[in-house]
Symmetry: C2
Subunit: 402 residues, 2 copies
């Protein structure tokens, strides 16, 4: 008998019919002989509606009160799901974040989980009940309700799985699993049977967007076996687990990210401290930087290029231009006409040929590379936005991922 | 400086505009130099909507899950009200039933308050905050959320006032206060400056319906000064407090209750135990009986008449008819063509003339009396429904209540 944690998002429970579907799904898992803990998000648009109600009254409402308000969304879902399961003749009990001892820090609106007291859940499971827990919420040391910010419900599910030493944490979403690349770009894209935690982290941050990185990082830390599958069918999903020691895949998948702007700071003095000045300025202003490239300019000078999200591009330019004399550059240019295309695979660590094979695929497709960045299990390039889809196809074919 | 508890019902907070009105009201009280605790109900139709959501999924949902669901209504209200008060530059904090230690028994859906731990509220008040507490909810020994049933929010307010030794508990509603009688029947009806707890109890159970009896009983037990006033204007309301020792009013008001059915059980044997058998049967089946009248039938027999609510009339008849041979009666008749009209006044205890003055008023108006019942501070009569309004007018005039 296994202990399985299942998480369902807002669209999976958005109305009575959907709630009943989830209930049947959960009961099937239970009747197959498993202990089941279910984590649910607020129904459909509930969270947005509550935010609207709040804005109407106070656009600058305190985060503490927003958390009090928003946590009602999940509380409604868990009660309705418990009721639905009861109609199927199985005993179920719903529990809020505070009732399961989901202890967090005090950053209202984006709280971090510190610990979870599994006693209440265990007692209810020992009573043969299906336990339903509200995602996205916890309680801080002041006995106040906190919400967990983006990815909160996925993270709740993993935290519970970790705390209870569950056998599996299944995240139900509206896609079948993780694919070698976006099927909308490459129809031949294949669903992966499994990916490692690190590969999932790289794929997620590169735009795959199936699981929140936060939950994958926690799963990696506590070695929680995860799977991503669809709530709309019974297909096996993609397992996310510790990477296999025996065989590592060279390239697991190809990701594309359109939300990229390149900023080129031209003709900086070629002396120490320049990079430090530029990037600490940006960091102080909350601008995340992705790829950084330094190249040689004319004698005694250098150029530094880097990428940020498109929404941060103007702000980054303003910040640096305001410090032009301090930083000492001649020119600064923004371009949003780029996409980032990346390959991810735990096996490329000891295989230098992987990167060059990617470059070959792009050369064969006559696609120019503007920037290159690599990490242990990832190679990213910047190409023109118009070329992005073709680049993904070319690479996908080159590595026979279909 | 006083500590005042203010309670606002669902219609008072049903939309953003109304919430802001309440916020201004509360802040005015606070700025006048008082400590303020506010108790609010769920917005407008929220509770009904939640019940509908539940019914759609499971018409026989467990009470425990209904309480989990319904308590979100009040939780939304308290957060929105706190946000509204914050826009007025005053610090406010919302607290759920469990956060204020509102401990109840475990009768989900109709829980009774056992105790309240005032520490959290006191700490927040000491911090000069306006404290907003969710009405209608508490927590039981299993750390489960419970709701308090009818009159729950009024009762929450009185319980907090009692627990904190508040100076006043103001219940805001949509009428100006308690009147000598229903102004829709007698336009000259006068608003009472004050009534005693007992008078309020009699008036409420007789259909005045301004305050729930439960809250008045608790106020009486813990001697909490209450007032009933309108949320729509600034008029002084009616105070509800310990009766004045100095002067008691003979008749405080006239109440009329149309929800009355009379059941006559005819020709029972005139021997001991009959009344006991009839009324314990009814009690076992949860039928509340109001007035009981026993009269002499033919030799060796007696008739027993009693009143119940109209909705219980058929059930009562069925129950007794099913035991016809055991009870030994010949005939049973229901009539719903009656109204109960009552006068209430703490002063009538030692004034036998009060009842006869009431009967005189009815006689002068040519209205027939079908049943009479009296208690220490109340005289009730049953008249034909058609005569009810005229009866109220006649009595109201007779006692110069306008």
């Amino acid at each position: 008998m296994s202990l399985i944690v299942q998480k369902f998002g807002g669209s999976s429970v958005r109305d009575a019919e959907r709630v009943m579907n989830v209930a049947r799904r959960v009961v099937d898992t239970y009747k197959a002989g498993n202990s089941v803990v279910v984590v649910v998000s607020a129904q459909g648009d509930t969270t947005d509606d509550l935010i609207e109600k709040a804005k109407e009254i106070n656009p600058k409402a305190s985060k503490r009160e927003m958390d009090m308000l928003l946590s009602t969304g999940e509380q409604i879902s868990i009660a309705l799901l418990a009721m639905a399961i009861q109609t199927l003749g199985v005993n179920a009990v719903s529990l809020t974040g505070w009732q399961v001892g989901m202890k967090t820090d005090s950053k209202y609106g984006m709280a971090r989980i510190k610990s979870i007291d599994g006693e209440r859940i265990r007692n209810e499971l020992d009573d043969n009940k299906i336990v339903i827990v509200a995602g996205f919420q916890g309680i801080n040391k002041y006995d106040d309700i906190t919400t967990l910010g983006r990815g909160g419900s996925d993270t709740t599910a993993v935290a519970i799985a970790a705390g209870l030493h569950a056998d599996l944490c299944e995240i139900y979403t509206d896609v079948d699993g993780v694919y070698t690349t976006d099927p909308r770009i490459v129809p031949e894209a294949r669903k992966l049977t499994e990916v490692s935690f690190d590969e999932m982290l790289e794929l997620a941050s590169l735009g795959a967007n199936v699981l929140h990185n936060r939950s994958v990082e926690m799963a990696k830390k506590y070695n929680v076996n995860m799977s991503v599958r669809s709530s709309l069918n019974l297909n096996e999903g993609t397992y996310v687990k510790e990477e296999s020691k025996v065989e590592k895949t060279l390239v697991r998948g190809v990701a594309r990210d359109n939300d990229v702007a390149r900023i080129a700071v031209c003709n900086l003095k070629d002396e120490p401290g320049i990079a430090f000045k530029i990037f600490s300025l940006l960091a102080k202003n909350g601008i995340n930087v992705d790829i950084i490239l330094q190249s040689i300019g004319r004698e005694g000078f250098k150029d530094i290029s880097f990428t940020v999200s498109e929404s941060n591009a103007e702000k980054a330019e303003e910040i640096l231009t305001a410090e032009k004399s301090y930083l000492g550059f001649e020119d600064i240019k923004i371009s949003t006409n780029f996409s980032k295309v990346s390959i991810v695979g735990s096996g490329m660590v000891n295989n230098p040929g992987v990167a060059s094979k990617m470059f070959e695929a792009l050369y064969d497709a006559n696609i120019n590379i503007h920037m290159i960045a690599t990490s242990e299990i990832k190679v990213s390039v910047l190409v023109n936005k118009d070329n992005a889809d073709a680049a993904v196809k070319a690479i996908h074919d080159k590595f026979n991922l279909a």
